[in-house]
Symmetry: C2
Amino acid sequence: MAKNLTKRSEDYSKWYNELVLQADLAENSGVRGCMVIKPYGFSIWEKMQAELDRMFKETGHQNAYFPLFIPKSYFSKEASHVDGFAKECAVVTHYRLKDDGKGGVVVDPDAKLEEELIVRPTSETIIWDTYRKWIQSYRDLPLLINQWANVVRWEMRTRLFLRTTEFLWQEGHTAHATKKEAIAETEQMLDIYAEFAENYMAIPVVKGLKTESERFAGALETYCIEALMQDGKALQAGTSHFLGQNFAKAFDVKFTAKDGKQDYVWASSWGVSTRLMGALIMTHSDDKGLVLPPNLAPDQVVIVPIYRSDEQFELVSKVANEVMSELRAKGVRVKFDNRDTHKPGWKFNEYELKGVPVRLAIGPRDVENGTLELARRDTLTKESVSRDDVSDIVVALMDEIQKNLYKKAQNHRTENTSEVSTYDEFKEVLKTKGGFIYAHWDGTNETEEKVKKETKATIRCIPLDAKDEDGICMVTGKPSKRKVLFAKAY
Amino acid sequence: MAKNLTKRSEDYSKWYNELVLQADLAENSGVRGCMVIKPYGFSIWEKMQAELDRMFKETGHQNAYFPLFIPKSYFSKEASHVDGFAKECAVVTHYRLKDDGKGGVVVDPDAKLEEELIVRPTSETIIWDTYRKWIQSYRDLPLLINQWANVVRWEMRTRLFLRTTEFLWQEGHTAHATKKEAIAETEQMLDIYAEFAENYMAIPVVKGLKTESERFAGALETYCIEALMQDGKALQAGTSHFLGQNFAKAFDVKFTAKDGKQDYVWASSWGVSTRLMGALIMTHSDDKGLVLPPNLAPDQVVIVPIYRSDEQFELVSKVANEVMSELRAKGVRVKFDNRDTHKPGWKFNEYELKGVPVRLAIGPRDVENGTLELARRDTLTKESVSRDDVSDIVVALMDEIQKNLYKKAQNHRTENTSEVSTYDEFKEVLKTKGGFIYAHWDGTNETEEKVKKETKATIRCIPLDAKDEDGICMVTGKPSKRKVLFAKAY
């Protein structure tokens, strides 16, 4: 049985770590910084993958697979890219072990690679080296490719899902004939990420542009979606990069246009990762455990039988099985937990901990009365519902719970969003409530760096919907054209 | 436009390589031995994954994800396991690059790992290190886990799909309370692989046990399915291993049984990989290109419009779109290739090369006559069919083509299976026709090794359905209880 979780109000960070472990989502492995994604956690990730994959394919993208390893020399070809990733690369130097004569193994010094291989931290370089062979003419464009893969970035401080040395993600890499098309693609994918976050994860997000210092290494613009967690910290949930012709030039990828002229190809790349699991957990969950939006819950409903005898078990099981069939016929993912190894109380706790949106309990008296007990995970309310109406009620609830979670998250964000004029106000808000803070900024790296150093808050993005307004930078008093979004962040 | 393929009869190996490239399935990358799986190839692999994943889940398995890296010391814990894999391991020794001062990067000698990490060649060791934490009691068993992942085995001679340094696969790892259950699981998964091969890939397979020398490193028994390619060579298409308590002992994974006694857990592991793509290609394809069974074809039907004017294009497009809708409503995967950048002849060749099971062509005269031209990829036959009946005909054809491909492969195998009594006969068959050869064997490593050395043929398996019959080994004349299956193999 699950131990009690630390309360969010006591220690948010501890609450998160305990929740991830106790809800069977993931755990640390024997390999520094690498996690094991447990079956329950992985089944949520699979739901995310399925929806995203569908959205990518509906917009004309195809999946492919590129090598895990990248020759070291590829990295140096795009100058800012190598600067961005060189410090966190796992490097393969040898291709064989040998017997150490003492029952163990050692690296075989005779099996040293001529050129070291980097375990991909992202795949722009290996992919653009391939695109050179695939792209000759405008007929080959646009090239719209996505890859589901594992990547490795050597992290010193790691946290399950939020920051791990190895993580799972998808990375889209597209090639276009014109700058305009490449930007349109970059923006389209940002919209898809925002739509996924809002409609499936029930997480409201702010769409925006990163400042120059926070841009992806090798990009001309980085678009992002930013979400607000319950502790008032921001989490970057997805990025979409306009790469200009940087990688095309670095890897010499040219195409012949309709008019016969040759030009370098324009590019985008975009990705979301298992980090989304962290966002999902930290947006909705409570002191009793995980809370899942129905659209991503592996089990949307669990039915728990209440009984004292075999006879009673048969009686309630009959109704439970009928209800299960009805619900399945209506497209609801439902599980009947008829294990006799655990008591109902244990099961109630277990499914609360695991965030199953709706729990139905049925005992002999319910059978008699033609009812079931329905408990909602999002509101923690219980009610008795009629056997005859239960499947209609549950179907309607799936939609209601999904919307309610979004609304709750949106209200939380509204309550924790501030606009400030002065740096003192800014620091005061950070100290007292945190959250999203809109403020004027003079557009310089220096000011951004100063705020970061002094307050630990960063510019999360320049929101796409920021209205033009003349103002003055809260720090320097220099002119500013629009407010930007600050927050402390994961 | 595709160049002409080399004919199988001229150079089978060259034909295979050209086909993989020209049909857009895969290509070599800039990384030695690692392939790029191109979108069309990957979409076939995705169909395979989807069906296998469904079959695994229907039999109670769940997906999870374990680290890519394995600490070197884990390998030494199971003695035969390390022997089997040590010679082909990619080893990560450093975690950072640094500027070389000349515009490039070098490995940072200050970022050397204390313990080297192995890029997983298979995951038994990291998974059993995790299972120790997951398994305490009989209530935690059986544990039925599968992982879809990339693995790396350093290969000196590689071929697209058949043998690559990095490949994609699934690996199942299960834990059980009893030996009997673990063996039942091992056999169940072999049956699932055989069912998948036969019903989806349309490839008949022989189920059997590997000899001791061919067993998986760390297994007590290795079960396999063996298929026969068109050139008379065998291909191992999947393996399922009974691991006994070897890994449980190496990683100290014990459980408390119902009666309170402690014992080590029993295990299985099983996997199929992107190698299946090689089997699929080499079983069915012909001198015109790929031939795909409908159950795995990304596009089961392609419709090609024939026209000379915009007016004609509109006319035929109207019917084509209607037929497409009808077919989709019946669950057929169909594509209407209305690109004006390529001529019909080019498209015909293209879809033959890519193995689309059925091609429908429609021109103005067809519209007038209420017909379409239907071409089958498997038989290369064409006929005119009525517009009104076309969707029923196509639906029936999907099933017919699937069965026909299986039957063709089965006939080929029957024609190329021999039984021999003497070693001379054996060598003669190998020289003249190759294929599967059943012969008596005395059960010793020495004889197996001698045959391999002298003829390059290996024992593919001891077939599960081999009938008991007293005989004498074709090589040594020693007694034998059953015939085993020999062949040259990929």
